[in-house]
Subunit: 256 residues, 2 copies
DNA sequence: CGTAGTGTTGAATTGAATCAAGTGTCGTGG
DNA sequence: CCACGACACTTGATTCAATTCAACACTACG
């Protein structure tokens, strides 16, 4: 289900913020008029460059909740920009358990795990109705070769991905359960803000189990963590709806 | 201290393997005759391309043990290829503790954490006498723009770094202390093999504390883990010297 | 020779996992 | 339209793996 219907439950935390402005599914038929263009691949490209990028992008049919964009071991062909909705990437461990490696929101690039190995190291699944821009990598390489700005931009995107991964490394190797959750919520908050949505009131599209698999915790610990943060009046939780009521305190949990 | 002197203690685990073939410090004055060229940046480049790459590389004076290559928040200028010796990258957390984000061995590329942000997110320090090839990034970008093979190669290197980081994410979020150690030793083993050194007999250049900071464990747990693996006759440990005596069993620890 | 850094091991403690029970919600099909 | 089953979530009790605290051994080096 999408956030709209969840909000329609009547027991929602608050106003219509959660219902407002779903990221556009069909609106943008090109990068030029996509309102995510200032946080996606096109940053730092001029009009004609964006036009050329546009030409190689394939805008496929939207994915339904639970549908896979690609699966672990699939041959790598493309990277993807999230246009609307959200995704999770995950691996299956040798004993069959799944581990979430990342969540992706509008304007973010995913699928870069296949670039070096030519095969995807993780599976990626839509967490809700979602749409993507598919960017065939061989064409992206060819175009990057013609447009220095695009090459630079893609190097930067990959560099940022590396930084993000290193930060998670640090988080997993030294934070307590509550610190991990605080950090997770803050990350969602800034990313929602980036795509013009409320930074202190949003709907989780993933389950407690997904969050746990991402943060190295069990779903019970995630649930207890939310309860505990709520008891401290730092957040307010109603099932998937989160409101951050004391941003300062939330940040303080990460260490003073 | 270098591995030579440690080996000279007289209580070494075995033969002269640890002493043999230190990765060359001064030998390679160019990529063309560097014996790491088949695992470093030059892979997939032809002779003339390697020549051009060579021209932008700066081969600085070697670093002594404990010296920094760059520090967190330093302006980003270059990426680096390890020529000899080994390095650790680490961050300082808000409460002053350090967390190791990676170890780097000959032929590996480091410093990519600065590409997106234009400033280094971690500090990098030599774990022993070591030498590096500095590759000024603006020049690398310019040259990549001229040489599609180099652009491809660097995309691949960054992609592999992302995959490696995701694997560590999985490791930290689901492995036990002993599994983390087993995985760490296996990683070192394959990387030593790649640079022509023994895969089952090597010297750790990092402290138990470093390993713990990398794997999200305390140094005591690392020490106990080594002792436990030794008791099971899977490895043999004498301070920094490691011999893997039962590779199959070591791999089996990671899950059947 | 003494000191600082590194490593080992033991005992006590603890934070999160596991096990378990129960509630709430949603979608489906009768 | 309601009942049913599947899932998601919460909370409590217990267990356990790793941390913390502590003491001591080894090595390297000024």
């Amino acid at each position: 289900m999408t956030y709209q219907s969840a909000d329609a439950s009547g027991k929602s935390l608050g106003t219509d913020v959660l219902r407002a402005r779903p990221c556009p599914h069909n609106a943008a038929a090109s990068c030029s008029n996509c309102r995510l263009s200032d946080l996606c691949l096109p940053i730092a490209l001029n009009k004609s460059e964006i036009q050329q990028l546009d030409n190689i992008i394939e805008r496929n049919r939207p994915l339904g909740k639970g549908e896979h964009l690609y699966r672990q071991r699939d041959e790598f062909r493309s990277v993807y920009a999230v246009r609307s909705g959200s995704f999770k990437s995950y691996t299956l461990t040798s004993d069959g358990k799944s581990r979430v490696t990342g969540f992706y929101m509008p304007g973010e690039i995913l699928g870069m795990d296949g670039i070096g190995t030519r095969s995807h190291g993780v599976s990626t699944m839509a967490l809700e109705h979602a749409s993507i821009c598919e960017i065939p990598f061989s064409q992206l390489e060819r175009l990057s070769h013609q447009l220095p700005n695009l090459q630079s931009r893609f190097f930067a995107i990959m560099g940022n991905e590396i930084v993000k991964d290193q930060q998670i490394h640090t988080l997993l190797s030294s934070y307590t359960a509550e610190q991990r959750l605080a950090s997770f919520l803050l990350s969602l908050s800034t990313r929602y803000a980036r795509c013009q949505r409320s930074p202190d009131r949003f709907l989780l599209q993933m389950t407690r189990g997904d969050i746990g698999e991402y943060l190295g915790l069990t779903l019970e610990t995630v649930s207890r963590g939310f309860s505990s943060l709520q008891k401290k009046a730092i957040i307010s939780v109603k099932s998937r709806e989160i409101a951050i009521t004391d941003m300062t305190a939330l940040k303080a949990i990460l260490g003073d």
